[in-house]
């Protein structure tokens, strides 16, 4: 589960809201008011590596998001608007009405922890690093949607980034803001002097451009391995030391809002499994922890720890049981519908993710929380697929399946087994599949659960079309395109290059879902869901709504995946030492506690 928690946490962080509570300056005890040691864990990364560098790009790097790793801004996961941010290194920004550019204004008193000011040069250099390591707005792939065309230093504290309008994306600004900023006087040597010329040349076509792209990506490997001699951060903290048991960060006195950052020190405790986190929380050791899956009894024990509080909010992710429609009988929509009726989603959620999820109301492709805002009254018109064995049987019969000795078989009488695959370690997925397996077997559908070594292998084999049925993260908000590209994007055959949408045959170019190119949706007519999804890339929220409604209806009838449960963002905090935590359902819950501190929210308990 730890790995899944990491994936969900990263998905949440990749997308971020709420009014900044501001917080008053506490003058007692010097700058920051109160001081103290803040103890936490990094849920996205189990196992501290004392020898890893303070490098945010390094997978084991000792760089902690929001603490000593800073972004231009912090993306709010607004339910519907991907371009809402909290300030980070950028104090403010202007987005052109047509999304063609974003102008970033750096915090006027932002300084690195060595006392040097944060300049436009630092931002530009960091954008260069983003190109080498892969980033949505700074992608090297020619024709990628929402890619930047130019980075221009306006003055020492202002940078303007222009979008390549050949294939625009409404979340271009988000793609720009959601990037790390590192000091040019430390990291700048990684970029060759002719980097920007090379980048320009790489945008063309032909062998020279290919070679330039390869060279730029090769720099990315150096970026990943780079070990700064000392952590120089523009965040509220800098790394002091790491040992296998903990990482210690101390307050950066040069941080632009240092006066409102309360803790003097932050300690990240090492952990290797959920059970360690449960023990830390039960003992009241942690001031904050991100979502860690816990069974109900453990959750009760954690709640009973002195000062323990649980804050819940929206997590823009859902999980679905997705089908490979190239494989029989999943090519038949009635089989998929039959399974949707047969599976009791409430029971699955209760067994697999009682604290981290809520049963999906239906399959709409959208998380139930923003669904109302996106598709409004259409939501109630969708088939909720309630648990109904009789309806399931009717659908199976419609699909031509036969019942022999109480077991459903394929139309030709050969046995049918629903083989579900999950990555090892994703215990809630495995538990859900085990529950679904039992439910199916009890109703005459043979089923089995197969696990594979890890998530990367799972994704690779899934994309290669090796599985019949697999679990799939969907409804990845808040951007409308991101939500539906999980169902009607590359995995289902549609690729969007340079604004041109093409459909690939099942089994080709990552099309493992293998659904039809056109769907006849009741009440809508014939649609090409992939093309509609691609339109969401550049659509304004108002333009997106009717498209979202059509796609939700398509997903509901077509069922490329059965939406099982929508994730809930569960955060653990302890009020014994600190106060000022975000409110229930706050959009800040989707950002690390380091951001809460830099916004001046966290205060020492008096």
């Amino acid at each position: 589960m730890k790995r899944l928690a990491a994936v969900v946490a990263l998905a949440s962080l990749a997308t971020a809201t709420a009014a900044c509570s501001g917080g008053t300056t506490n003058t007692s005890g010097g700058p920051g008011g109160g001081g103290g040691l803040f103890t936490t864990i990094d849920v996205s990364r189990p196992g501290l590596d004392a020898s890893a560098p303070a490098n945010i790009w390094n997978p084991k790097g000792n760089s902690f998001i929001g603490y000593n790793a800073m972004k231009l801004g912090w993306v709010k996961n607004s339910l519907t608007d991907p371009n809402q941010f909290y300030p980070g290194i950028a104090a403010k920004w202007e987005i052109a009405p047509d999304n063609s550019s974003i102008t970033l204004h750096i915090q006027p008193n932002a300084k690195w922890s060595d006392g040097k000011p944060v300049t436009a040069e630092d931002v530009k250099m960091s954008i260069g690093l983003a190109y080498t390591t892969g980033s949505t707005a700074f992608a090297l792939t020619p024709g990628a949607a929402g890619a930047a065309a130019d980075v221009q230093i306006v003055d020492d504290k202002t940078v303007k980034v222009t979008q390549d309008m050949a294939n625009p994306s409404s979340k271009f600004a988000r793609g720009v803001i959601d990037n790390w900023v590192e000091p040019a006087h430390i990291w700048g040597s990684l970029l060759p002097a002719d980097f920007w010329e090379k980048l320009k040349a790489s945008r063309g076509t032909g062998a020279t451009a290919d070679k330039d792209r390869e060279e730029i990506l090769a720099i990315g490997q150096k970026v990943l391995a780079f070990a700064p001699p000392k952590d120089v951060s523009a965040g509220p903290f800098t790394l002091e030391r790491v040992n296998p048991g903990e990482a210690l960060l101390v307050k950066n006195k040069y941080f632009y809002n240092a006066a409102n950052v309360t803790p003097d020190q932050v300690k990240f405790l090492n952990y290797s499994g959920n059970e360690q986190v449960w023990n830390y929380l039960s003992a009241g050791k942690l001031d904050h922890s991100g979502f860690t899956a816990a069974p109900t009894d453990v959750m009760t024990r954690i709640k009973n720890a002195p000062g323990s509080e649980i804050i819940k909010g929206f997590s823009p992710v859902a999980v679905g049981m997705a089908f490979n429609q190239s494989k029989k009988p999943y090519d038949n929509v009635h089989v998929r519908r039959g399974l949707a009726y047969l599976i009791d989603r409430a029971q699955v959620t209760k067994v697999a993710s009682p604290e981290g999820g809520t049963p999906a109301l239906t399959t709409s492709g959208i998380h139930q929380k923003p669904a109302q805002e996106w598709i409004g009254p259409e939501l109630s018109k969708l088939n909720p697929y309630p648990h109904d064995v009789a309806k399931a049987a009717a659908e199976f019969k419609e699909a031509g399946l036969r019942q022999k000795d109480g077991k459903w078989t394929l139309p030709d009488g050969s046995p049918w087994t629903v083989t579900m695959t999950a990555p090892s370690g994703f215990s809630d997925w495995i538990s859900a599949q085990e529950n679904i397996k039992s439910q199916l077997i009890e109703n005459g559908v043979n089923a089995e659960v197969v696990t594979v070594a890890d998530y990367p292998i799972y994704l690779e084999e899934l994309a290669a079309g090796k599985y019949d049925v697999g679990f799939w993260l969907m409804a990845l908000g808040p951007a409308p395109y991101d939500i539906f590209q999980r169902l009607y994007g590359t995995p289902n055959g549609w690729t969007n290059v340079a604004g041109k949408v093409t459909h690939n045959a099942p089994g080709k170019a990552g099309n493992w879902m293998g659904g039809p190119e056109e769907l006849d949706v009741q009440g809508v007519g014939k649609i090409n869901p992939g093309e509609l999804t691609a339109k969401l890339n550049a659509a304004s929220p108002e333009e997106a709504k009717p498209i979202m409604a059509q796609l939700a209806m398509a997903a509901n009838q077509d069922l490329p995946a059965i939406q099982l449960w929508d994730y809930v963002n569960t955060q653990f905090v302890n009020t014994s030492r600190f106060t000022g935590w975000p409110a229930q359902d706050s959009d800040l819950l989707r950002l690390p506690a380091g951001v809460w501190m830099q916004l001046g929210m966290i205060k020492k308990k008096q």
Binding site: W278, D297, S438
Partner: protein, 299 residues
């Protein structure tokens, strides 16, 4: 003199009646009886146990990871299934894999050890260097690597891999015994009589080492159980809900058996099975040791 006569008469009786000797050894320490009963019990459980339960175990989604009760003596698992039912149905895979492990360990180890010790010379050098190499390869890390490419879908596959990784120790020990025995008088006599190598190895050497080999085989069963349970516990093998190792993994890492008491039964079930199996084998080996080693017999 009469004592001597009586003693020699008892020894003679024991030689004539092997089973009477076995019975005496068992009776002297009743714990050995317990061991034998447990081993037979595990064998019965592995062969017939799963027949007592339906293929799809009954479950109660309202009783997830519940503590022991009158209805569920060791509680339920994370799916609401009876822990005892899981332990029993899971025993077939675990025990069969362990048995295959033990068989391969003993057959390969004994074969190589006997051949090497009896032939000596170049064969011995080559085979023992091979054994040394095998012994230097750390088993668990190799298994972890192997598990990424091999799914160990059946217990025989699992046992085959574990057996091929575990014969080194047996081969070394059997070789040492062979080297020692081949210099003894009765082997010399057999050679002098012109008996064939097959006869000397099969009828003279092997029976002398049979008890030792049998004991090694039993110990290899426990080794096989530990290794596969360990791999499942670490979560590196494909999910099998009723494998004892998987149960331990789920109990600790998902149901919080080490954090809250409700999951304790779920943890204790497979642990108890492993513990009892180990205990049973230790007790039986203890009995075998005395049966086959005259010096240990307490008359």
């Amino acid at each position: 003199m009469s004592v001597l006569l009586e003693s020699s008469s008892t020894s003679a009786t024991m030689r004539r009646n092997f089973w009477a000797g076995v019975w005496r050894v068992m009776k002297r320490k009743p714990s050995r009886m317990v061991g034998v009963v447990l081993v037979l019990g595990f064998a019965f459980m592995g062969v017939f146990g799963p027949m007592f339960y339906p293929a799809q175990l009954p479950r109660d989604p309202n009783l997830i990871t519940s503590p022991p009760s009158a209805q569920h003596w060791l509680g339920t698992d994370d799916q609401g299934r009876d822990v005892i039912a899981l332990v029993v149905t899971g025993s077939r895979y675990v025990l069969l894999a362990a048995l295959v492990t033990a068989l391969i360990t003993v057959v390969v180890g004994t074969g190589i050890g006997l051949f090497s010790g009896f032939k000596r010379g170049r064969w011995d050098t080559v085979l023992m260097r091979l054994t040394d190499m095998k012994l230097t390869i750390p088993g668990l890390p190799l298994l972890l690597v192997l598990s990424t490419v091999w799914k160990f879908g059946s217990p025989t596959q699992m046992g085959l891999v574990l057996g091929l990784l575990g014969w080194g120790g047996v081969a070394r020990a059997v070789r040492s015994q062979t080297l020692s025995l081949r210099e003894r008088g009765f082997i010399e006599a057999a050679r002098g009589l012109g008996l064939s190598t097959t006869h000397i190895v099969g009828k003279e050497l092997l029976p002398s080492m049979a008890p030792y080999i049998a004991m090694n085989m039993l110990i290899a069963v426990t080794g096989g159980v530990y290794a596969q349970v360990g791999l499942f516990f670490l979560g590196v093998l494909p999910y099998e809900s009723n494998n004892w190792g998987q149960m331990l993994n789920t109990a600790v890492f998902r149901s919080g058996a080490l954090t809250v008491p409700s999951g304790l039964g779920f943890l204790i079930g497979p642990l108890l099975a492993i513990l009892l199996l180990t205990l049973a084998i230790v007790l039986v080996v203890d009995a075998m040791d005395e049966i086959f080693n005259p010096r240990l017999r307490e008359e």
